[in-house]
């Protein structure tokens, strides 16, 4: 599995204004990990309570699956030319 994307590039290029941002996603991951660790017991408890109905299993599965999606974002590139504006989103 890849590691999560470290940078996100957001670019909006208009006729007058140009905006190009490099967002340091790597700063978010430690915070996200801390939140996940804090919330893990609560999620586990909620999953156990909801186990008789299908939601418990889904709740447990959703964490790893979403993390996998997050890791797979690396390399995603969207380039939209909206006539007068150019929008660029990419994950590095």
């Amino acid at each position: 599995m890849n590691c999560p994307p470290l940078l996100m590039r957001l670019g909006i290029y208009g006729q007058r204004r140009r905006l190009s941002l490099w967002l340091p996603l790597f700063l978010l991951w430690p915070l996200a990990a801390a939140v996940a660790i804090v919330l893990a017991p609560l999620v586990l408890l909620a999953a156990l309570i909801l186990w008789p109905i299908v939601w418990g299993k889904l709740m447990l599965l959703s964490g790893p699956l979403l993390f996998r999606c997050l890791c797979a974002l690396r390399g995603l590139e969207l380039n939209l030319n909206l006539g007068k504006r150019l929008l660029l989103i990419s994950f590095k």
């Binding site: 699956l65 797979a72 690396r74 390399g75 590139e77 380039n79 030319n81 006539g83």
Partner: protein, 142 residues
């Protein structure tokens, strides 16, 4: 160089045959040379696993329409396929119903990851080019 060709050249150096005869004999050995050549399967490079799925929509020059250039990592598509486990059963029914209304008789629950692998494998040999109206759509993997 094959053994036969060497033997002909040896005979020529020993002056047992003339240059013309050597030339004629060498020309006769040429088909053998062709059979020694590698087949296209042997010479072809091994296929690389595709890493990205690309979709490009290019408008005709001067039409002023929007253009789209998307590069989606295959890993993201695989991860997205796994997310289908989270779709509740009734939601799949709704999707199937919507597809049926559009004339597509397809059950999304039957679409497995193996099917997707097959689809990707087929796409490595295929590039889809659609040119209609004022846009050109190009779909391929790289």
């Amino acid at each position: 160089m094959s053994d036969n060709q060497k033997r002909i050249l040896d005979l020529l150096t020993e002056k047992k045959i003339s240059v013309d005869e050597a030339q004629r004999l060498l020309s006769l050995t040429e088909p053998e040379k062709d059979t020694e050549a590698k087949t296209p399967y042997e010479t072809a490079e091994p296929k690389r696993k595709p890493r990205y799925f690309r979709v490009q929509v290019q408008p005709e020059a001067g039409s002023g329409k929007e253009s789209v250039n998307v590069r989606i990592p295959m890993a993201l598509i695989h991860a997205g396929m796994k997310l289908t486990y989270l779709i509740p059963g009734h939601a799949s029914d709704d999707v199937n119903e919507a597809l049926r209304e559009k004339g597509i008789n397809f059950d999304v629950r039957n679409f497995k990851e193996e099917d997707f692998e097959e689809l990707v494998a087929a796409l490595t040999d295929l590039e889809v080019d659609v040119k209609g109206g004022k846009e050109k759509v190009h779909i391929y993997v790289e």
